[in-house]
């Protein structure tokens, strides 16, 4: 079995004439938790968005298992559909659906994107919320949640469609020390279940404690790849 879950080869992205990604190349193996680190504005979030198919790029290749996004040819709808069965993403600002309850945020995609029965999806959502410690907020609206609760609901929503590769953008940014420790445990647990995680973060302690590798990013490219002990 191929160990490689994700591969980026010479990905270049220009935005309004400015080079945002300057030939990014790296691999991520199954069940790894890889941290993308670097100061703000170097292209970490853009890398995640490119992998998720949210942003087109000019050249290079993004490969998620057998699915290939080719910068030169754009992203056909069928490729994107297949990609989204493989890749989940937790945004820095969560982007929970503001008009829906926490529970519906979590069961919406399993029902309407994967065709799961609503009852089954609701039960599964409740299990996920319980595992993340926010089942008591199941009927709250997103604007009623704290930052930590919203973060965990966003993770539950992403996990509800069971993606083998999960992208997280600054997951610890809005959390205090206790919440950060809880999240560390949670994400480590996900890798033990066989899920692959790519996390863009500033948080050195998080990277040190959780990541199997750290990719250092500068001016739109990865300049260092360090395996952690």
């Amino acid at each position: 079995m191929n160990r490689c879950m994700l591969r980026l080869q010479e990905v270049r992205l220009l935005r309004s004439g400015r080079q945002v990604l300057a030939g990014v190349s790296f691999d991520v193996h199954r069940s790894e938790l890889v941290a993308l680190m670097g100061p703000s504005g170097v292209g970490k979030t853009t890398m995640l968005r490119v992998i998720a198919g949210l942003e087109a790029f000019q050249s290079g290749i993004v490969q998620v298992e057998e699915i290939t996004l080719n910068g030169a040819n754009g992203h056909p709808a069928a490729t994107l559909r297949d990609l989204r069965a493989k890749v989940g993403m937790v945004f820095q600002f969560h982007h929970l659906f503001e008009h829906l309850s926490v529970l519906k945020n979590v069961w919406l995609a399993p029902v309407y994107a994967r065709g799961m029965a609503q009852r089954e999806a609701e039960n599964r959502a409740l299990v996920l919320l319980a595992a993340l410690g926010v089942e008591h907020r199941a009927h709250a609206l997103p604007h009623e949640l704290s930052g930590g609760e919203a973060q965990r609901v966003a993770i539950a929503r992403a996990l509800a469609v069971d993606p083998p590769l999960l992208l997280l953008d600054e997951p610890t940014a809005s959390l205090d020390a206790n919440r950060r420790a809880e999240l560390r445990d949670l994400l480590c647990g996900l890798t033990r279940e066989g899920r692959t995680l790519l996390v863009a973060t500033h948080d050195e302690a998080f990277a040190r404690d959780c990541a199997s590798r750290v990719l250092r990013v500068r001016e739109g490219s990865v300049f260092d790849d360090v395996a952690m002990a």
């Binding site: 998720a52 949210l54 559909r81 989204r84 069965a85 890749v87 989940g88 993403m89 945004f91 600002f93 969560h94 982007h95 929970l96 659906f97 503001e98 008009h99 919406l108 995609a109 309407y112 994107a113 994967r114 609206l141 997103p142 604007h143 929503r157 992403a158 469609v161």
Partner: protein, 523 residues
């Protein structure tokens, strides 16, 4: 002069043949004229200071043969009322000055001093005799029934028209007669704003008969075939000049002038010139000159003379409430249509290809860039030869299609205001674009659109008054008739405003509550 010029340009025979639906005695022109009249009000005021002028009021909109623009020289007025006004002015050694007043507002305008006398085929009624200072009658007319030629034998009198639609001008004696016939024989009165469309609607079968003055009926019969005037008259009435009660001295002077004109044949010459002289007039003049009393109306018991405020409310409230139901039902249905079409247009403009976007943008610009009244006229009268829409259907379609253009812009803006993050979150979860629209973008956009939608619904509720030009009898039209009949806008206006508020305030409250309930922060 500018007002007159505008009116006259629009009423040239060539233009009328091209746009018959626009150029009738309609509220469209009336609204434009009113606006112009307001603009020129200071000029009228200056004129009022000039003692050498005799200000007389009339409505030239479809006012033939009373007051109309001369087709040969559109900046000049012609008609028998014009000649009578000139005669009176000459005898008073004053210069006649025409003041353009809408037909239904003549009493109120005279009362407030816009002009000294109203002359525009104004009817003599007991209410006018009680509240104003009308002149002696100068012309006797007959209320006559017109029917399609094929129905000539079937519909001879109002009692033959049970369950049938009979058209007339609102706020006239004929309308009162029809209301009476509704109670007595089960006739359905249909009120028009002009005296042209009742006859064209009769010919194409939208209504079954028309009850109007013989002067109007005979004039239409000369221009339009397909209907016949029944010989038996339903009632007899008279045209008078209307002055304010405080002007009774001037009224007496004018009465003397009219009597002299009856004696020396001046009035006969005027009416003969306009082809409306008949045997009724010498009989009327003989009675007037021998000081015999002439009842305002014969053959019909007209409305009581002066109503107290309370009696007026009791009398008109049921019909106002009935008209409110028409207003609210029409507004709700039109808004529902506007919302459905508006959402479709907005979705097409956001998601559609270039051709679709161009077509939909064109629709929006045409509907927003042309007057809603014009659209209503086109739907009801303009395309009547192709599709004969019922009045309510045309009104519903007209309002719905027009408001759909405005609604679509609200929804387009709201769809574009939904944060991109929400859409990306939905897409990354694997939801298809149509699911993103129905489950996330649409519901979020609805929250942005709610306040302007409520605004639009309240605006539509008020704009629904425009459909009275298509004979749909809604609240404002009923109020207008109420006001015309009692000669004052105070009580009808207050009642009408209260009913509109009763309809719009709960809606605004509901919208505010929904907005509060749906309030959230979006990132």
């Amino acid at each position: 002069m500018a007002i007159l010029f505008f009116q006259c340009c629009c009423r040239s025979p060539t233009a009328e043949s091209i746009f018959p639906f626009i150029l009738s005695r309609s509220r469209f022109l009336r609204s434009v004229c009113l606006a112009a009249a307001v603009f020129f009000q200071p000029i009228n005021f200056v004129a009022a200071q000039s003692v050498g002028e005799f200000r007389w009021a009339g409505d030239p909109e479809g006012g033939a043969p009373f007051v109309e623009a001369d087709p040969a020289q559109p900046n000049r007025l012609i008609g028998f009322d014009v000649e009578i006004a000139e005669l009176i002015a000459r005898k008073l050694n004053r210069e006649p000055r025409f003041i353009n007043i809408t037909f239904s507002s003549i009493d109120q305008s005279i009362e407030r001093g816009d002009a000294e006398i109203g002359l525009s085929g104004a009817e003599d009624t007991p209410a006018r005799r009680a509240a104003m200072a009308p002149t002696i009658p100068y012309y006797e007319f007959r209320e006559v029934l017109s029917v399609r030629i094929a129905d000539r034998e079937r519909y001879r009198t109002l009692s033959d028209l049970k369950g049938k639609r009979v058209g007339t001008l609102g706020g006239t004696i004929a309308y009162e007669i029809l209301l009476n016939a509704e109670r007595e024989f089960g006739v359905h009165p249909v009120s028009y704003d002009d005296d042209v469309h009742p006859y064209s609607d009769l010919v194409i079968g939208r209504i079954d008969a028309v009850l109007l003055d013989n002067v109007l009926a005979e004039r239409r019969a000369r221009a339009l075939s397909g209907f016949a005037i029944q010989p038996r008259s339903v009632a007899v009435g008279h045209y008078v000049g209307i002055l304010a009660a405080r002007n009774s001295a001037l009224r007496d002077q004018i009465n003397d002038i009219l009597r002299a004109a009856m004696r020396d044949g001046t009035l006969e010459r005027i009416f003969r010139k306009w082809r409306v002289w008949n045997d009724d007039q010498p009989r009327l003049y003989a009675r007037l000159l021998s000081a015999q009393p002439v009842p305002a109306v014969t053959g019909f018991e007209a409305a009581p003379m002066a109503l107290t405020a309370w009696t007026a409310i009791l009398r008109y409230l049921p019909s106002l409430l009935q008209a409110s139901v028409v207003t609210i039902v029409l507004s709700c249905l039109a808004m529902a249509l506007a919302i459905i079409l508006g959402i479709s247009i907005a979705t097409g403009r956001v998601y559609g290809n270039r051709v679709m976007r161009m077509l939909l943008t064109g629709y929006v610009e045409v509907m927003r860039g042309t007057p809603i009244l014009l659209q209503l006229f086109v739907l009801y009268y303009g395309i009547a030869d192709l599709i004969r829409l019922p009045a309510f259907g045309a009104a519903l379609l007209g309002l719905g299609l027009n408001y759909a253009a405005y609604e679509s812009e609200i929804y387009r803006g709201a769809l574009q205001a939904v944060p991109v993050g929400q859409l990306e979150a939905a897409r990354i979860l694997g939801l298809s674009e149509s699911r993103v629209m129905t489950l996330v973008r649409g519901p979020l956009a609805l929250r942005f659109a709610l306040a302007p939608m409520t605004n639009d619904f309240i605006a539509l509720l008020k704009d629904s008054s425009l459909v009275s030009v298509l004979t749909v009898f809604e609240l404002t039209k009923q109020t207008q008739i109420f006001a015309t009949n009692i000669g004052s806008w105070v009580m009808p206006g207050l009642l009408c405003a209260a009913l509109y508020l009763a309809m719009s305030l709960p809606l605004a409250t509901l919208a505010r509550r929904l907005e509060q309930r749906w309030r959230f922060s979006t990132v």
